[in-house]
């Protein structure tokens, strides 16, 4: 059971979109942007409020890579590994970041909850390859060293 404030927030978001089954995705998107992850308890709560089964809500939430049941770090770094970025050596950037942050594919978030490292299949910015984003801010033409520098900056910030 989460703190009551979570459910109040969920109520607020549900009221904004309307308690209908078709509003599931916008509702859980808003919840995720509020908490940087989708608390499972809230998914269950939302399903009940909008009249769908828990399993249906879980089905939708797991279909989209974007939803996460795990709390994410303050900075969510998405390294693009689409074709264009991949051929311009995004893998080296990714490996550097894994080493720098001490995270892995299985454990993408740092223990201090500062960083979450993910890969995405394409950010649609192939002209800027290799590219990564930090909380939706785009960093173009990255190199492993530039990535290390970026982490140092963010840590300092």
């Amino acid at each position: 059971m989460l703190d009551k404030s979570f459910y109040d927030k969920a109520d607020e978001i549900i009221a904004l979109h309307g308690a209908t089954s078709s509003a599931l995705i916008p509702i859980i998107q808003d919840i995720q942007s509020e908490y940087r992850y989708l608390p499972p308890e809230l998914l269950v709560y939302v399903a009940k409020q909008i009249g769908i089964t828990e399993s249906k809500a879980f089905s939708v939430a797991t279909f989209y890579e974007n939803f996460s049941f795990e709390p994410k770090g303050k900075y969510v770094i998405k390294v693009c590994d689409g074709t264009a970025c991949h051929v311009r050596k995004s893998t080296a950037i990714l490996e550097r970041l894994y080493a720098e942050l001490g995270v892995s594919k299985e454990k993408p978030t740092t223990d201090d909850m500062m960083f979450t490292l993910e890969t995405v299949s394409c950010l649609g910015a192939c002209g800027l390859a290799p590219v990564l984003t930090v909380n939706d801010k785009v960093y173009p033409a990255m190199t492993p060293d530039a990535a290390s520098e970026l982490i140092r900056e963010l840590r300092g910030a």
Partner: protein, 560 residues
């Protein structure tokens, strides 16, 4: 007249909702995994593909038939496609056919033979997933799932439970409860309808066969077996006996040869239920408390009501189900019989998976002893008969044992929707005149609609009745009751569509013709019964004077 052309033959259109139905009407049995006429169309398995005159290939289940269509169902192109689709389905499927519970009934296996798939070119790269054996009723093996979604839609659309759904996507997609919970942690009611529609061995019945064989072999145990009403019209399915035929006598003969010590009828328990439940209805009508009275025979329904509508718990009849009344009675009789030193084991043969859950509920232990020890479904007993090397079709028809093998026609129809109500009405109207019996049967209690309503005059009082089958329909009625939109005095609920005849433990496949044959079979048993009313069963009468005297409450009712 509107028509379409299928394989160069004209076939009339008669309002079919999809092309597949027209093709099947024309006598062509197109294969499908994901199409069930009672479920929404999903169009996932692609086995029902057809080709039109322009060479376009599409799934017939999700195509609306249009006048003038020219369709081919078995061109070389289609044969190629179908075989490839099946091969791809098989690619990620566990192939341990010989040790699979569904061996012989598996649709995937059947089609692989039918379509001539003699090798699978692809390697199975899927990670092996653990089995979910947490439920008392079904076992889920994700490694055998072909993602047809039949269970998902049945659970949600027919039963209104919605425990199972797809999760994740692409090659990682699986069917599972939310958050991959164990089945025992979910709202699963145990009805087993997911298992009925599952075309493979991904959902199977939790088996108690081994434990029962062991009990039979133990000379220190007296193994008593009771046979539920709907079992007798389905047990013959796998032995070439016509669908819906009453095979009770043959089953009794087989059970004796297998080593069961005493063979009785759950219908006898049903007669006791009629006695108690009709009494309870009259009491509640008089006091006006906790109306409507909900029936309590169906454990899937009880689970559903408790988990989803606990506010209606008090409305459920305190009567135990026929199985539990029977079990409690046999165990009580054994306690009183000091001469027989053997331990009495009560086995039930049930059409139902939820009955496996019912026997372990805390209220079904008397003085710390479990009233019913094992539940075997019709499907498990079918297997035991086969394991015993017995050909049921060649068995003589033998009688059940006395005294608990004698039951009325009222009890026989417990296996279909409306049967419990009809039986209770017979008892309350208390007339065995043919015209009175017919009047009851025509008052609206029969039929297979999800919700039936009728009103019956009982003395001064008009009694409003609803008869519900399928838990989705039950949910609708409960919501209406909650809002005060409807008013009833008596509500019969059966979790499974059409009642126990299509229960989760019955032999599959259960197509529309099988369902109808079993349905008719139940009423035929009633027609042939010399005793029509439960209160006319002489054994029931003598029990109330004997062993039950003063113990009605202890043995036949549950406290809330």
């Amino acid at each position: 007249m509107k028509y379409i052309t299928i394989n160069n033959r004209k076939v009339p259109l008669e309002g079919e909702k999809n092309l597949l139905s027209v093709i099947r009407k024309a006598g062509i049995d197109l294969p499908t995994f994901c199409y069930h006429s009672e479920l929404s169309t999903y169009g996932a398995c692609r086995m029902c593909v057809v080709e039109d005159d322009r060479g376009k290939v599409f799934a017939s289940c999700s195509e609306v038939p249009k006048e003038g269509m020219v369709i081919y169902t078995n061109t070389p192109k289609l044969q190629h496609h179908r075989k490839l689709i099946l091969e791809l389905l098989l690619a990620s499927h566990c192939r341990d056919c010989t040790t699979c519970r569904a061996n012989g009934t598996c649709e995937l296996q059947k089609l692989a033979t039918q379509l001539g798939v003699d090798r699978v070119r692809f390697e199975n790269t899927k990670e092996i997933q653990p089995l979910d054996t947490s439920s008392n009723c079904v076992v889920i093996d994700p490694n055998k799932c072909i993602l047809c979604g039949d269970c998902v839609r049945t659970c949600e659309e027919i039963q209104g439970v919605g425990v199972l759904n797809f999760a994740y996507r692409g090659s990682k997609m699986r069917v599972m409860p939310a958050f991959n919970k164990q089945m025992s942690e979910t709202d699963c009611v145990g009805c087993g309808q997911c298992r009925v529609v599952c075309p493979t061995g991904a959902i199977t019945i939790k088996s108690n066969v081994h434990s029962v064989w062991e009990a039979i072999a133990d000379k220190n145990k007296r193994v008593v077996v009771q046979i539920a009403p709907a079992v007798r019209v389905a047990i013959g399915d796998k032995f070439g006996i016509p669908k819906g035929e009453n095979s009770l006598g043959k089953l009794a003969a087989a059970l004796r040869r297998m080593g069961f010590d005493e063979i009785y009828d759950t219908n006898f328990g049903a007669d006791l239920t009629v006695m108690e439940e009709s009494k309870e209805l009259v009491e509640r009508l008089e006091s006006g408390e906790n109306l409507p009275l909900f029936t309590s025979c169906c454990p899937g329904w009880i689970n559903f009501c408790e988990k989803k509508f606990p506010q209606f718990r008090k409305n459920i009849s305190t009567c135990r189900s026929p199985q539990q009344m029977f079990g409690a009675l046999i165990k009580e009789e054994a306690r009183m019989n000091k001469e027989d030193t053997r331990e009495t084991i009560v086995v039930s043969i049930m059409p139902c998976t939820a009955k496996k859950d019912e026997i372990v509920r805390p209220e079904h232990f008397t003085d710390g002893v479990q009233d019913v020890d094992f539940v075997l479904t019709t499907t498990e007993v079918t297997r035991m008969i086969q394991e015993g090397g017995i050909d049921l079709s060649r068995m003589p028809s033998e009688s059940l044992d006395m005294p608990f093998g004698l039951a009325s026609g009222s009890a026989a129809i417990f296996g279909v929707t409306g049967g419990v109500t009809e039986a209770v009405l017979r008892k309350l109207i208390n007339s065995n005149k043919i015209e009175d019996l017919e009047q009851i049967s025509f008052c609206g209690v029969r039929g297979v609609e999800g919700v039936k309503e009728c009103t019956v005059q009982l003395g001064e009082r008009e009694v409003r009745i609803a008869i519900v089958n399928g838990l989705k329909s039950a949910e609708e009625i409960l919501l209406k009751l909650e809002k005060g939109e409807v008013h009833y005095d008596f509500v019969e609920v059966m979790a499974c569509k059409r009642g126990c005849i299509a229960g989760g433990g019955q032999p599959t496949p259960i197509g529309p013709r099988t369902k109808q044959a079993r349905y008719d079979g139940m009423y035929n048993i009633d027609k042939a019964a010399q005793i029509k009313l439960s209160n006319e069963n002489p054994i029931v009468q003598s029990l109330y004077e004997g062993i039950l005297k003063g113990k009605e409450h202890k043995l036949l009712h549950n406290e809330h």
